[in-house]
Symmetry: C2
Subunit: 289 residues, 2 copies
């Protein structure tokens, strides 16, 4: 089993993708921050279905972390990541340094309005500017035919679709479903922050979303359903709920009822971890959980 | 003489440039707001030297005009522009509508920090966000090998170089010198706003910059030289000087003396027109005026 080629500069990345393109191959990009789990690897599988060659980027992007957040603590293990990528057939690992991505004098920000005003945008000021800027750069560096992102970061996925459309970046954006532990907890690199007790409590977030989704699909109003779900999450041991809310699946506008394609989204703190999750809510009563 | 092909959508533009690329041709883009004069046409000549095919875009970009500015009054005459472009051998005229550039739901802004904080950025809040966003879009729509911009908008040229580097847009940015009337007035689509009397006064701006440049290159300090130049401009009949300042040619940092490659930049109001101009200042005493 040969591992992916590792490249660390924009020049080396473009040389590699240029070689592939000369043979007529299509290229997919899977942007990640490393600490790869089966959720990330499912994105690589999807990318392999969609293109001839797959580049996985690993870059813990300082610009999407706030001052009090876990940039320094965020898990990093490139050697293990490279082994995992070899096992799923990624062709290249692009792991630029911070200086390669943000050289001296760097001064440009991509801002997506509207979509980023609340939810994780309200809880993490500047976060989506950091995401939008780094994703724009990665897409323009690699110039892939397709890029694959997880629905786990649902608001982020909508922000990326928006900026790609608005800036006319020539790439298809594909979302892939959340991958979960057997008990329902969404896979996340931040789950490693949980103690054993917290880990046992953590699936309550998904379970509360599922119960709420079923009630909303049955036609109940959002106010009571969401209040009950928040109570469940706190009762299970979460410290605070940043948000647990019903939104239009495309615009993230708040909804009073699931009268159109909708999404239930939540963020909640459990010990040192801030966990996020989301589930679809179908207006016609097609259950998702 | 066949005129340029006119395209009005991103799809039609990409179809045209794609056809050219299949034959191995390189493509240059010259972004303009129309009302083309010899300054613009000099950019097309330069583009013709640099690439096999030249696209000139004409788009009066609402996002770079402030609330009290001349968006509605800005001169527009596409038929005359197309004739002028035919005469200089442009291959395509890309003239998208506002709805094509900013469809419903558009929400993304490209912001370049630092360089845009003062000069025209201070006088025209939001102007450079509008410029950076539309130029990013035009570059990503046309995907040219090279794009040509006038040094007349010197601060804009630096902003564009910065965003192209920062966002990793794969294009060469080329600046072309200011084109002037025989009496020194920089060509500008806004010169049509001047009355006959104002038109006679207008070259004073360039003359003041030239005299100041000579004195700075001889080693005089900036404070006295710039004050004298401002007085000259006002004495010639200008209503107000927005700025007349000596800056580092690469960073636009203010300078007390021309001790490195520098630029003298000015903006001043004359009747209903706000005129801008700039000249290089060489540290070694190589006169530019």
């Amino acid at each position: 089993m040969t591992g992916p080629v590792t490249v660390r500069s924009v020049g080396a990345l473009r040389a590699q993708t240029g070689q592939w393109r000369e043979t007529g191959a299509t290229v997919a990009l899977v942007p990640t921050m490393g600490a790869l789990h089966d959720g990330h690897l499912s994105l690589v599988h999807k990318a392999n279905e969609l293109a001839d060659r797959v580049v996985v980027s690993i870059f813990v992007n300082p610009r999407q972390f706030g001052p009090g957040e876990d940039y320094a603590a965020y898990p990093r293990d490139e050697a293990v990541d490279a082994e995992n990528l070899a096992a799923v057939g990624a062709d290249a690992l692009y792991a630029p340094t911070v200086a390669e991505m943000y050289p001296d004098g760097f001064a440009t920000t991509v801002h997506v309005g509207g979509l980023t005003d609340d939810l994780c945008g309200a809880a993490r000021p500047g976060h989506f500017d950091g995401v939008a800027t780094v994703v724009s750069k990665l897409l323009l560096q690699a110039r892939p035919d397709v890029a694959v992102f997880g629905e786990k970061d649902y608001q982020q996925l909508l922000v990326i679709r928006r900026l790609v459309r608005d800036l006319d970046i020539l790439v298809s954006i594909v979302g892939a479903p959340v991958v979960r532990e057997p008990d329902g907890l969404a896979l996340s690199s931040r789950n490693t922050y949980l103690t054993a007790d917290q880990r046992r409590a953590a699936p309550a977030l998904y379970k509360a979303l599922c119960r709420a989704s079923v009630r909303l699909e049955a036609g109940e109003g959002a106010a009571g359903v969401l209040a009950a779900a928040r109570d469940e999450v706190v009762a299970a041991g979460f410290d605070a709920v940043d948000y647990l809310t019903l939104r239009d699946a495309a615009t993230l506008a708040p909804l009073d009822a699931a009268d159109r394609p909708a999404r239930l989204l939540a963020a909640a703190h459990l010990g040192g971890a801030r966990l996020i999750d989301n589930v679809p809510v179908a207006p016609a009563g097609e259950g998702a959980c």
